[in-house]
Amino acid sequence: MTTTYRYFSKSVWLAMGLLAIGLLVVLPILHLGVDKHSSLYVSSYAITLIGKIMCYAILALAMDLVWGYAGILSLGHGVFFALGGYAFGMYLMRGIGADGVYHANVPDFMVFLDWKTLPWFWHGTEHFAYSLLLVVLVPGLLALMFGFFAFRSRIKGVYLSIITQALTFAAMLLFFRNETGFGGNNGFTDFKRVLGYSITAPETRVAIYMLTGLVLLGALLLGRYIVTSKYGRVLAAIRDAESRVMFCGYNPVSYKLFIWTLSAVLSGIAGALYVPQVGIINPSEMSPANSIEIAIWTAVGGRATLIGPILGAVLVNAAKSYLTVSFPDYWLFFLGALFIVVTLYLPHGLMGLLSALRRKITGGWK
């Protein structure tokens, strides 16, 4: 692999622009403005599927920032994603109001538990702005605390990966408990409305979908800004030669902490966008297996490329959607083989493959 990628070439910008227009303008129009029986009609299935995959893409991008650029492999990013989802899910739950099956003032699952009033951490969640704040703050603070201790103790590499796994596993067990106050295994479902609009209305769906697309685009641009800034170069330097960076006078702890926290916040936002689109958030999002899968999307696409992880998230999830229908008994074989093949033969992922091909065609790099 050569040096830092050029972010990005003109043709990439063009392709990205076209794709963004296609996804953010054309598809919504085809969904809302075209007759259901027309061959041009884009179904709600496609919209929610693409919307969901875009959330995963944001998550993969967040993973890429820490793994690709800072060399920190997190096997617990699911916890940040889920916390963001839960924070926004609380707002959506409150939005159900008394339309739940018990017509109670508290969410239905609290009725099961005989809770008459909301626990303290639910206060204020009926406000949209406050829940948005939680979406950012909760994953951010958890990441900040965890990162502070971990990076200060100079835990890195595999050790860090394993304790992030323990973190998400512990969080999953905690949220599975019904007494924790987040609906236990069932989590949050049956949302009715967001900001007063019905959540199943096509317009609302498209709005959330477009918002997701914009956030993805924004995250990509933010990521590009960060990795091309001096900060990004310091970060990559930490990844490649941490002690040299220290002897250049930088304190790696705060550098790692910043990108780690930012990545957690991005994951949280992805989670918040994910929940209204898939209609459920439950603790299994925090299972270690889910978090490992995020790393796989990133690896498949190509680390430290920004575009790669997005590509990886899209491809793996699209393949999953396709294979679970066409080869339900065998898709795990595909997925498993993909992990192995990518790590063995494509250490730089699809982006690495692409640039190798381009080099082959144009003869030599650059």
Binding site: T4, K230, R233, A241, R244, S254, Y255
Partner: protein, 277 residues
């Protein structure tokens, strides 16, 4: 060293007022009086093995000092102690008269003005030569500052000057990983210089260089002496002879001999260690 007693007392507690002439900011180098580096009675052991054994050494402001010694004499460990990578079991280490190195972390030590080149050249291989220098350049090291940092023309000029100095102008945009071994050594030296350190620690700077590169390095070091203090660890005696005014021989973790190259070469104990035994 002939520093006045009163001042020495002041420095013991981190130093607020040194002498009457000027006020010293805590955390800043004050080498206005005497040695820039002061090691006293440093001992470091690993698993019972004493890598440094009551080592005492001072380096004066602007001095170019060569350190020689057989393998395992403790040269690298000494540098580790100075740069905060290894903590001494006992002993004192001061940078200037106010900065207690044993109480500072690596980044702080570097920021206060000590630069180090490793035995094995370590540059950021994925970054271009230019970026390597940019990262090493003295600047605000906080996260926010780097996030919004823009290269001003003065900095560009400094990088350009340094590139010239280390003769890598033509490779500015190449990834450092593609440089030759000698070029990497040069780049690393450049990365030290651009930090404008008071004291440079150079571990085998000419290892793997061609004769021509070695000569040029010697020239460079001689030109740096005076403005900076240099501590050079080297085995290449021809190179040492080219640059050395004062040579320190380390052996089994402590100073065996110190003096001009001639003095050292004729020192009986040195001969014994190197040849006799």
């Amino acid at each position: 060293m002939n520093t006045p007693v009163t001042e020495n007392n002041e420095t013991q507690d981190g130093g607020a007022l040194t002498g009457l002439a000027h006020f010293v900011q805590p955390g800043e180098l004050d080498a206005s009086h005497g040695p820039v580096l002061y090691l006293d009675d440093i001992t470091v052991s690993f698993d019972g093995f004493r890598a440094l054994n009551q080592l005492s050494l001072t380096i004066d402001n602007g001095e170019l000092r060569c350190i020689i010694g057989p393998n395992g004499a403790g040269k690298t460990t000494m540098m580790d102690v100075i740069t905060g990578k290894t903590r001494a079991d006992s002993g004192t280490a001061f940078f200037g008269q106010t900065l207690d190195l044993t109480k500072m972390n690596e980044a702080k030590i570097v920021q206060s003005g000590i630069g180090r080149k490793f035995q094995k050249p370590t540059v950021f291989e994925q970054h271009s030569v230019f970026e390597n220098l940019e990262l090493a350049m003295q600047a605000d090291r906080s996260v926010w500052a780097t996030l919004f940092a823009r290269l001003d023309s003065e900095s560009r000029d400094r990088i350009a000057d340094t590139l010239k100095l280390i003769r890598l102008q033509d490779s500015a945009d190449r990834p450092a990983g593609l440089l030759s071994h000698g070029q990497k050594q040069w780049l690393e030296i450049g990365m030290l210089l651009i930090q404008r350190p008071k004291l440079l620690l150079l571990d085998e700077p000419v290892a793997g260089m061609t004769d021509e590169e070695t000569d040029r390095t010697a020239e460079l070091f001689l030109s740096l002496a005076g403005k900076h203090s240099l501590m050079v660890v080297e085995h290449d005696m021809a190179f040492v002879a080219q640059i050395a005014k004062k040579v320190t021989v380390l052996h089994e973790g402590s100073v065996l001999a110190e003096g001009s190259l001639d003095q050292v070469q004729n020192n009986k104990r040195v001969i014994e260690v190197y040849l006799g035994r």
